[in-house]
Symmetry: C2
Subunit: 215 residues, 2 copies
């Protein structure tokens, strides 16, 4: 775990991810509400529910750190909202793919970063981020759509590239904020960050592969 010796500020990391999970929950709820099939809607609602549980658990951890969650999250609102706005309006299946890929990338990334928190907080934080939120069920929805309409393949492959690009930039920005808000990374630090990003990309490629999509 090459990020494990970074020492992120607990409140900053908890607050940033608590707000991120809140926006992921809202994204998931919107995807659920837009589903034309009731079974799909139910599936995505369950995912939304699991993400909400992650948000709530992080809010509780913030409370244990003596923080009022809404105040602690405030500094991250503008940056995270900007991240989401970049995706704009999309078709429904694109929005399911966004949900699948962003939860995968971001939970992976922050779980790695959380390894540098003091114990036992590190373990509790990582347990929240690595919880099963039902991604397999999203794979099911997407695989069915790809099987039913082959044109979906190129549309979703294109979209997946968009999502991974924007999300890695967001992860990178979060990393720089944790490491040193003002400085530029030294060459040594760059060498440490690179394998982390490569791991994220490898996991992303496996997600795309499972859907038969070129990453």
């Amino acid at each position: 775990m090459p990020l494990g010796d970074l020492r992120p500020d607990p409140v900053a990391l908890l607050a940033r991810t608590a707000y991120l999970e809140l926006t992921l929950f809202e994204a998931a709820s919107t995807v659920a509400a837009r589903a034309s099939d009731l079974a799909d809607r139910e599936t995505v609602t369950r995912v939304a529910s699991a993400i909400l549980a992650q948000h709530t658990a992080l809010v509780d951890l913030l409370g244990e750190q003596g923080q009022v969650a809404t105040e602690a999250m405030q500094p991250y609102v503008a940056e995270v909202d900007r991240y989401w706005r970049r995706f704009g309006e999309t078709g429904w299946h694109e929005s399911v793919l966004t949900l699948h890929l962003t939860t995968g990338l971001l939970n992976d990334f922050f779980a790695q970063l959380g390894g540098g928190l003091p114990r036992p907080l590190a373990d509790r934080y990582c347990a929240v981020l690595t919880a099963d939120i039902g991604q397999e069920s999203l794979v099911g929805v997407l695989a069915a759509a790809v099987a039913a309409d082959r044109r979906m393949t190129s549309r979703l492959a294109l979209w997946g590239r968009r999502v991974v690009g924007d999300t890695l930039l967001a992860a990178r920005a979060a990393l720089d904020a944790v490491r040193d808000p003002d400085g530029h990374p030294t060459e040594t630090e760059e060498r440490r960050i690179e394998p982390v990003l490569n791991d994220l990309i490898a996991a992303h490629t496996r997600r795309m592969d499972r859907l038969g999509l070129t990453a």
Copy 2:
């Protein structure tokens, strides 16, 4: 409990309310996402989470009745969606009031109707519908808005009348569907239904009063 001797079809009642709670959850999530204040957003998100738990509990009860929830809910989609469409686009505080009043009216109403289910299903169903979903926190949000801007009072009072009208119609339609899908109520039945609607209106009036709004 004047409705207690109606014998609603368990699957029909569970499915209708499961779908209704799903749409209430979606309404709550939308209200949360539209909140401009992060503390309000957190408050409404908790309410959304509690409503989602009601939906999930009803889906589980449907499962115990040997039903696939998404199939069982399907017959109620069009009617419930029509109900929500009537409210159209509103200001944010109106949408919070809608959430507060509709959850109050509908949970009250269906809990009464659920009294006629076979035991122990009746008790479990009523426990779900009468669960605390955090309405006090919605009262807090609305009371603060009314206190901060007196013009809000007349806007919200007007809106509350719209909500209660449409919701009582929806409750009445649900009641007719449970009782007898084709027949018209006899005079005796009308006399039994009337006190139920009066009770719902009385509870609604108390909700409005607490906010300093004319019902």
